[in-house]
Amino acid sequence: MQRPTVFRIIGSLVAFLLALPALGRGDSQENLSSAIDRLIEARQQAEAVSHTGPIDDYAFARRVTLDLAGRIPTLQELTGFVADTSVDKRRQLVDRLLASPDFAYHLRDSLDILLLARKKTDEPWRKYLLEAARENRSWDRIFREVMLPERELPGDKRPAAFLHARARDLDAMTNDASVLWFGVNIACAKCHDHPLVPDWEQSHYFALASFFQRTFPTRTGLVSEKFDGKLKFTTTEGEEHQAEFMFLSGTSVSEPETALDKDVLKEIGQKIRDAERKEDAPPPPQPEFSPRAELVRLALEPGEHDFFSHNMANRVWARLIGHGLVHPLDQMHSENPPSHPELLETLAQDFAQNGYDLKRLIRTIVLTRTYFRSSRWTDASEPADPELFARGMVRPLYPRQLAMSLRVATRNPNGMPGLSAPDQWMSAREKFEQDSTALAARLPIPSGLFQVGTEEALFFSNSQEFHEDFLDSGNEHLVGHLAELADPEQIVETAFLTVLSRPPSDTEKGAVALHLAQRADQREDALRQLVWALLASPEFRFNH
């Protein structure tokens, strides 16, 4: 049922060539995607490293659906895509996914993990992010709303959750904001100048902290700022210094002199204390000079030290490709230059110049050849260094990607039209999203050193919950559906396509047929074991 590889490769190349002039909106983006590939491939050539070939349609559908929709494709979506004969069907799939309700859910889940990292499960905050993701709100606006909630969206505590969850801990606010928005981890510089990075001195840490020092949480879940207060710190030489308001770029601002008299300040102080403590206190007064607003302003100033757009370009790249252009992602400094400086610069500039459009950034990256390189390294040589991007990286699924994919994989595929019936799918997706919350909360968030633990393996193997949720033999579930199929070959084919998003190999067909034949007297159990084995395989656990 597959066309020979060579035709598929040519097909996808043709698809790209044809696609170039087709869409007005797409022009500059596809040129950018090609430019990215040229930069990536130029370095591979310079280092005499070969790259892997493109993935086939099945693998492409799985990879891109996981990345853009946060789940595996349904059987109907998958077979529909593979059977599609149009030359630019890959690009069409990308655009279909970008326009789907799933995209907003997945972007929301990604931003939630990035910004709140389960400090708490905050449904109003997640609703705010979903709203923002649905309208493709620009990244700078999200930044302003989350970092300055009291000025951008007064009284709305949803975007305030980022600061509120950290507001009693100045170090957490300072470092998390620096890492997540700017890609710079300066925690090391709190107690001394950074030992390895001359860019980061102790004064930088406190300069950044001084932007947050006046921030306080209110009892009602909002944040606000005090009218005065200066941050002091002691150097390793024992000298006491007063921190200035200085951004990572080195630009500083000075606070205008205020003429508030003592009584007024005292009154303000009382109102602030009330807001901190009392549920029914009126919103506290806001100072004219807001250090946090200054930070936001400086961060969005164009210039050579545009940490804000470089950070997000790098994070989105790493998320989709599996390795940062600057890696690790929080080490953006002169001692750790990008693997492809021009590429990062180009991506970041395009991002900034096009209104910090996340969807555009994501689309640019998934339309590169680099994005759909195979992760298999069949060459006899050592696998190419990840920073050469010569092979697809194997990426563990995020908690919600895995929890959602388990749902999608184990329903009766006949009831899962997916995006071929968008209206019906919208409510199904919402329900799956809710059903996935509990499971997602117990799955690990991938990090650089990610390993699956035995706890997860035991949960898959022996928990009642897993068996009830995913191996039910009722008519609405995959096991029940397989039991209704008579032809053994069709059973194997359906199971593999539904769970692993690919047809089985001949060896696998043989092994599974044998497994089923030996258990003709307990057919349902045998099917349940087959589905379990597919779900518990690494092929299901990773994006590859």
């Binding site: 801990d169 170090d171 957490a172 300072t174 470092n175 998390d176 890492v179 981890n185 925690a187 090391c188 390895l196 890696h327 929080d330 080490q331 750790n336 298999r376 390294w377 069949t378 696998p383 092979r391 990286m393 194997v394 563990p396 690990p444 990090s447 650089g448 050193l449 390993q451 699956v452 633990g453 035995t454 706890e455 997860e456 393996a457 035991l458 949960f459 193997s461 022996n462 928990s463 009642q464 068996h467 190999s505 060896t507 696998e508 092994a511 599974v512 497994h515 159990d525 074991q529 087959l530 379990w532 084995a533 597919l534 518990a536 395989s537 690494p538 092929e539 656990r541 990773f542 590859h544």
Partner: protein, 431 residues
């Protein structure tokens, strides 16, 4: 930049062929484990015992009072109503609430000079769990995860790190932090048996086995030509499942003779410590047993009369048991909390949180039994000799276990020593 992988899978930098070869070996072992009860094979238990050092951490959740345990000050305004009693170590006295331990101090070093400064529960336990202060953006591994990382066998068929808690208060799950998820603890609270370690009744032994074989077939095909250590570690986790299931019997106190159970006493803490000994005997590197709730802001003396009786019986039974089995020289028993309690006795006859001068003990493996380290002033307000921080305690613990306390883990490009910067072991406590 090279990443360090901690999954403990047989080959850390998994090469395609390397992984498959190692996987086959581990599979063969795992298959045997279905019938293996480690304790029923004395020879194997002997082997494990020799190879493996272990830790049992008795965690006195909420903060035990040093005055009513290891550093009594009777006769001083801060001393409280209890007397001190001599011990089998000449010159060393402990509280009369620990009579059994007073006859066993030759196993134990007392540290009376902890000054850890943080006196709220949250900050205190994070400090004593990780041996260092919090740092934004870094999830430090807990002591148990570090010990498991250092001492666990890569292809181990038993848990690496088990935690047991009193079912009511003070439950907090330990964390492997930035180490591999493999070293997160198996966490027991409601039940005395770990979650998901037993086969569901709805699936037969044979089917459980066969579907794992089917999974392996798929996994092997998938892993071929795929340079990814994360995939290797996924397979390693599944290969440990059957071994872990076979270790379920270790959690069964019914298997202990009645006399032994009586020795430990009928309390939950006693039973959990008996399980801890069974686990350590089978080679588990780290077991934490938490006993709650020592947070005696009111009625400090009644609280300690009750809790110390339990601690005294259980800790002495545990040390005796380990000694009689020849295991004490390879097992380090720690008694520790997040902090001690104030010298000042408050209006409710309670003692509050106090982290400036408090005590803990180390017994067994690598420890100079009978050592008395550090000194507080007459009122117990300050440390006057041998001050130790959490990092120093960790460095001492690592050294007692022959683990290099200056060893570093790489977190991205950043080296993080397993004992905090500037920490040093205290030789006088070490054998």
């Amino acid at each position: 930049m090279k990443q360090t992988h901690f999954c403990g899978s047989p080959d850390h930098r998994i090469s395609r062929r390397g992984f498959l070869g190692a996987a086959t070996g581990a599979t063969a072992l795992a298959a045997d484990m279905t019938v293996l009860d480690v304790l029923s094979r004395p020879a194997l238990a002997e082997d494990l015992k020799r190879q493996q050092k272990s830790v049992i951490l008795l965690w006195l959740a909420g903060g035990a009072s040093q005055f009513e345990t290891w550093d009594p000050k009777p006769g001083w305004p801060t001393g409280g109503p209890f007397a001190k009693i001599p011990t089998n170590v000449p010159g060393t006295h402990i509280s009369e609430l620990l009579p059994e331990m007073s006859r066993r101090l030759h196993y134990t070093a007392i540290i009376r000079s902890l000054n850890t400064k943080i006196a709220d529960h949250g900050g205190g336990y994070r400090l004593m769990d990780t041996g260092r202060r919090d740092e934004p953006g870094v999830e430090f591994p807990h002591l148990g995860a570090i010990i498991a990382q250092e001492l666990a066998q890569p292809d181990s068929r038993i848990p690496d790190y088990v935690e047991m808690y009193t079912s009511t208060e003070g439950r907090r799950k330990g964390s492997a932090g930035f180490l591999s998820g493999r070293f997160n603890p198996m966490f027991l609270t409601e039940s005395m048996i770990p979650e998901n370690i037993r086969r569901l009744e709805s699936i037969s032994q044979i089917d459980h086995h066969d579907r794992a074989a089917l999974r392996r077939l798929l996994a092997n095909r998938f892993s071929r030509d795929l340079p990814s250590s994360a995939v290797g570690c996924h397979n390693a986790a599944y290969q440990r499942v059957r071994g872990l299931m076979a270790s379920a019997s270790l959690f069964d106190v019914e298997r202990e003779p009645a006399a032994m159970r009586q020795h430990y006493g009928p309390t939950q803490f006693g039973e959990q410590c008996m399980i801890a000994r069974r686990l350590v005997e089978a080679g588990v590197p780290f077991v934490k047993v938490a006993r709650a709730w020592w947070d005696s802001h009111g009625q400090n003396f009644e609280t300690h009369r009750e809790l110390c009786a339990d601690l005294d019986q259980v800790m002495s039974a545990l040390l005796d048991d380990l000694e009689q089995r020849g295991m004490l020289e390879n097992t380090l028993v720690i008694s520790l909390a997040e902090f001690g309690r104030t010298p000042k006795i408050n209006g409710s006859l309670g003692r509050d949180h106090f982290a400036s001068a408090w005590s803990c003990t180390l017994s067994g493996c690598g420890i100079q039994g009978g050592a008395l380290y550090g000194k507080t002033d007459e009122d117990g307000m300050t440390v006057v000799d041998g001050e130790m921080g959490a990092g120093d305690l960790f460095a001492t613990i690592f050294t007692a276990l022959d683990i290099d306390y200056e060893k570093e883990y790489m977190l991205g490009s950043r080296p993080i020593p397993i004992a905090d910067f500037g920490a040093a072991p205290r030789e006088a406590i070490l054998a």
